[in-house]
Symmetry: C2
Subunit: 301 residues, 2 copies
Amino acid sequence: MLPFARVTIIGLGLIGSSIARAVQATMPTVRLTGHDASPEVRERVRELGFVDDVTDTAGASVVDADLVILCVPVGAMGAVGAEIAADLPADAIVSDVGSSKISVLAALAEALPGATIIPAHPVAGTENSGPDAGFATLFNGRWCIVTPPEGADATAVERVEIFWKRLGADVERMDPKHHDLVLAVTSHLPHLIAYTIVGTASDMEEVTQSEVIKYSAGGFRDFTRIAASDPTMWRDVFLSNKDAVLEMLQRFSEDLTVLQRAIRWGDGDALFDLFTRTRAVRRSIIEQGQDDAAPDFGRSH
Amino acid sequence: MLPFARVTIIGLGLIGSSIARAVQATMPTVRLTGHDASPEVRERVRELGFVDDVTDTAGASVVDADLVILCVPVGAMGAVGAEIAADLPADAIVSDVGSSKISVLAALAEALPGATIIPAHPVAGTENSGPDAGFATLFNGRWCIVTPPEGADATAVERVEIFWKRLGADVERMDPKHHDLVLAVTSHLPHLIAYTIVGTASDMEEVTQSEVIKYSAGGFRDFTRIAASDPTMWRDVFLSNKDAVLEMLQRFSEDLTVLQRAIRWGDGDALFDLFTRTRAVRRSIIEQGQDDAAPDFGRSH
């Protein structure tokens, strides 16, 4: 049973193009339409061929859709919603893949009054961007969090959940507010910290940029992967989930101050205790299949 | 031309056992002797067979060595130096693999007056520990920084450098003080930040530990790898390179405060500019062969 027959994807970067490829691989009879604001991306997508049709306007892409997925930066959701409002079929479901959910739901509800909006967030990705970066197995074994608004149509929610399961994801339903708090911890704060430390290391006067790169295998290089993520996407995430991000940042700063003091006063026991505790977290992540068990992420040596 | 004929490795964890395996693979005629303070590790090493002899005391392991490499936590270097002082041949070279160099050189110079001490630091490793975690190719294409003290014997320095090149490493010579500053940026600060954020995420009351693990693919899981590194080793690194670590931590905190303010005041341009700059650092690291070019570190999807 296919949950949808005609799927439209707006925004054909890493996530949008991965969804399209995954649909082609797992539900080949689904008719796929795509749109992207960039003419260059549309051109490239026509060459790559992972959707049946590419339209030049957002409105034209939704006219016969039964599912429309917005895969644009969260700050652009409202504007794209407004672009498709006039052409959206009454029975279509609108979903998205944004990393923050309260603000996206508010923006879409305002732009598309009366539409069935079922937001979702696949917790998956790589540091690369654009239509060439996507691949069909990106969502395999990853979680997709569905955050229906209060009073959402139960059948619509189920159809979106079935869709994501067909793409290989495990699905969890969550309140949008709780989603934004959980992701502030597991995704937004880590990205913010990674961006900061890569910036800090680039601005040293006593240590050259070339030394930072040369000796990055000591740990630094791990942070540069995350800090290579799409700038527009992440700017929007931090601005749209501001309160939760600032709250988590405050806690992190407090914890860092405690550690700083332990180093200054030579409190080795405090350091050892924390470092032992954090080791156990890694073990749990591997046991639950959320990371590669191979050392060093399985990097080739 | 072999730089050394009889090599002793004291401390048979990840790094010590990797050196032994790499020597077996690249210089099979070298006679290898090993010692570890832990009876369980010595027993396991006898089973694994990557050294010719395992001795029950540190002193007995060095009696006929021409190179002795200390692969113990930096806080234990002085004590191990004292243990081998009476048995060390006059013409033997003593080296180590510690992640901080000023303090190690001072500790060894005090424990082994008159000995030829040529410290080194292979910038390589994984998050795993112990004699089973090592492998022969760990140093391939990684940098090994040699930090000879002022007035060190030039031939001794060259022999240590040839040894590391034979193990597959690229070698760079550096002043110990500069080493400690460079590594504070590229290794010590990243580890400190990773330990902190994993601790912060574990201590939330609104977000459960199980949620943190489940949704860790949003970025958090990257940090848990580094935060799974050996607690004793890292406690010692932070305490022994205190001044440089505190200095880098201070800069990082300042940069984080600037970013925090940009988020609070909705300054999207400041965020976008930083995120664009950090992306370029990743590209340089990959271009210079210091990380896997595959997305997501080449994790299997």
